[in-house]
Assembly symmetry: C2
Homo-oligomer: 115 residues x 2
DNA sequence: TGGTGTGGTATCTTTTATGATACCGGGGAG
DNA sequence: CTCCCCGGTATCATAAAAGATACCACACCA
């Protein structure tokens, strides 16, 4: 029936989330809604135009975000989560929750090692 | 109060799961319990010894898995999930569930494009 | 005596991801 | 006229991840 091994599914999700700037892009779009290119760029210190473009394109390719071009001058391009993209939210939340505990744990370790 | 940006938490989780062989290692250990090195290796076609060692060491470093060496000849080394490692299960399950739908979606897209 | 199984290391090469930098068109501000 | 803003592209360089290959000690088996 199903020939694809189980772990491939996990890797599918992982491959979409993996990328230096993708998690933060997704969090911005989820939490603050539709954003313009430079708006995102300003909120992500350190990212270069090229990298931001690339990561956005890859997310768009997977139908996680939608890119809307307004035929104006100067150009206006907006990025928004798709419904499909929003289906990633449980994963991001699970990771966020886990990460919170991970941070706490690290702190405790540091304390015990310095005491 | 909290100076660490929210997305860092997500990236913490991601950084632990990311690695070509880590998801499958974790799934094997979760589903089949403690495993020896070569036992894992045989279940992961294509992995080289070096890569398997590296990924296992990284997971051990993060306290996700535990490495037990039995002072025998020939050597016997076992890998097992730690309790902490098992706390990743909700994330892996969320990704697995998402991946299942992702696969279905891709298939549907192919069908509509070839019809 | 030579080959096998165990759990690795040490090098080297290739592939992939990320980054720095320069450039673009065209309107609007000064 | 000159510069900036916007949302990019193109080129080149670097860093990081992954892979190929060879080697190791030791005991066991035949």
């Amino acid at each position: 029936m199903e020939k694809v091994p189980e772990q491939c599914r996990v890797e599918d999700a992982l491959s979409i989330l993996t990328g230096k700037w993708k998690p933060i892009i997704l969090l911005h779009l989820l939490q603050e809604g539709t954003q313009r290119f430079n708006e995102l760029k300003r909120k992500m210190p350190g990212v270069t135009q090229k990298m931001l473009t690339k990561q956005l394109r890859e997310l768009e390719e997977e139908d996680i975000i939608a890119r809307t071009i307004y035929p104006q001058v100067p150009p206006k391009v907006e990025y928004a989560m798709t419904d499909y993209g929003r289906s990633l939210e449980p994963i991001l939340e699970a990771m966020h929750e886990w990460g919170r505990n991970h941070t706490l744990r690290k702190r405790q370790k540091q304390q015990t090692s310095t005491s």
